[in-house]
Point group: C2
């Protein structure tokens, strides 16, 4: 083991605005042997997610930022290579948070064993993992779509949005997806069964969205902000619910957008339309994990919820893939295959 190298991607510097490749740096170190109670994990799959942009900023948020020189955080599926922890044995597959690196030590806390025969291992980072549960809890607990209502979601071909739209359909609602480009929109309609799909890059996006929502919008699952929010806002119905899950259009902002200040307009509309705008993290719904896994495994098995993965090969590809994620370049759940 001693000559085996661990490659890690660390934060080299904090981005100003859009992250660039030089904000990340690959470092090598020796793979260390697990101590008592520890396991050595080899990363098979690394998940890339929009929340990581927040972690490399110093803006106040719900989690401490990644420090300069520290390994980038991230959800992972790993294989147990060595174990000095009775709960794990070599060859076990586990879901964890090993971050952007090829090997990691763990004391076993926060690891969940995966059955490779039940579902492809990578799905534990997508439809059967954090993004899937984000959609499940945000839509069902906060959005609460009722049959016949209209649910709109942006980044709709992404890991969260795709589940939101399909879940809305399962609940009898009308699903309107917003995505970037004709190919993604076709996918929403043809593969995922959305009722309408609108390309936010179209010049007449606002009009197209309004046309796709003839009865307004009852639930808007907010992943994006920016121009999409501006188009959604006037369409929101009385008693609309807005689960706020992400604001990817603003993650690279270096200053607030120019005026006027539309905060009073937003607050007045929340009042007059009696809207509910509620932010959440999937971890707020940890008590829903068992229900989520039970439901989502069945829906995926029965073909009621479909998913798509966008896989890049090798840890070295992670920075560029992550930068592209923030620009909407991925098509489906973005994963790095770190090892086979």
């Amino acid at each position: 083991m001693a000559e085996r190298k661990n490659r890690q991607i660390v934060l080299a510097s904090r981005p100003e605005g859009e992250p660039r490749p030089e904000n990340f740096r690959m470092v090598e170190s020796e793979v260390v042997t697990p101590g008592d109670g520890q396991v050595l994990l080899r990363t098979l799959w690394l998940s890339l997610d929009p929340y990581m942009r927040g972690r490399i900023s110093t803006a106040k948020s719900y989690a401490r930022p990644v420090e300069i020189g520290e390994v980038m955080v991230g959800g992972t599926v790993s294989e147990v290579m060595e174990s000095r922890n009775a709960a794990f044995k070599p060859g076990d597959f586990v879901l964890g948070h090993a971050g952007w690196q090829e090997y990691a030590l763990s004391d076993g806390r926060g690891l969940r064993k995966l059955d490779p025969d039940a579902a492809p291992l990578s799905t534990a980072l997508g439809v059967l993992g954090m993004p899937g549960q984000t959609a499940y809890c945000g839509l069902l607990q906060i959005g609460q779509p009722k049959p016949g209502e209209t649910v709109a979601v942006a980044a709709a071909s992404g890991a969260v949005g795709a589940v939101v739209g399909q879940l809305a359909k399962l609940k009898g609602a009308r699903a309107v997806g917003i995505a970037g480009g004709a190919e993604k929109c076709r996918y929403l309609l043809d593969e995922l069964g959305f009722d309408a799909a609108v390309d936010h890059r179209a010049a007449d996006f606002k009009e197209k969205l309004a046309a796709a929502c003839p009865n307004g919008i009852d639930v808007y699952f907010e992943n994006v902000g920016g121009a999409v929010w501006d188009a959604v806002f006037p369409l929101l119905n009385t008693f609309a619910r807005v689960p706020v899950c992400g604001m990817i259009a603003h993650y690279n902002d270096t200053e607030p957008p120019p005026g006027p200040d539309r905060t009073p307009r937003l607050m007045r509309t929340i009042l007059t339309k009696r809207m509910t705008v509620r932010g959440f993290l999937v971890s707020d719904f940890a008590d829903q994990t068992a229900a989520f896994l039970r439901d989502m495994r069945a829906w995926v098995r029965d073909g009621k919820i479909k998913y798509r993965e966008d896989v890049v090969e090798g840890l070295a590809a992670a920075p560029e893939a992550f930068i592209g994620l923030l620009k909407g370049r991925n098509f489906g759940k973005l994963l790095v295959r770190v090892a086979r």
Copy 2:
């Protein structure tokens, strides 16, 4: 009866910005005799409330605007003078919506009989009426204060705010009131038992509010917007609840405030702090009326909830009083004594 005159205040023109006296006009007409099924009401008390500013604007809202030449809307306590409706007899006192006029006909719909021995009649427009129920439902259903949490409310000496703070205390929370001027602040502390009171006119208001909320704010009952919201916003805790009841600081706005646009900042904070911002009208909680009346009557009777009325005399005084209300000139629930 035929020679008796009805005086009415109608909307003469729509205000641009702050309403002025000339936006209202007094007109006289004959008092008409009730037809079959109708009652003739004589207004004793007229309630003046901030929501009326919205009704004289054409901005889209939850209710249709008052038309030019139409009698101003408003909650009233009236005496039944004549009745051709079996449910009412002369001498009955009723809560209704007769508007800014001395006499009104009603078919009985929406009228609720009042017992003048149970509580002063005017309280049906205040602590035991719409404002009281607004506080009760907004705070208890949306705010859901828990013992030890901090509840902040602006316009805290007003009809709604005063009940919010006292209810917060009843629920074991810490009540922080925001009001205009030292006299109102003293009243909050000395009469209503708030834990802290902050004068929003003070030059160091922001610092004073922060000092009054050493553990942040868990529930902010939003009546105001503007500079008060700006001071509250950074103090809001993770999982804060913001029932949005009013935005009186903005009702006279003729254009949005200058930039930058702080909407993205608000939405990101809603996300990272997992806040719930929810607008409501008291009518959304009509199913709570019986519970409200039961609880609030007991609390008022037992001295657990106190109230203060600001009474102006005579219908003709209504426009100036209403204009003053929007500037915070009233001190307590603003009422017009139209007749004794």
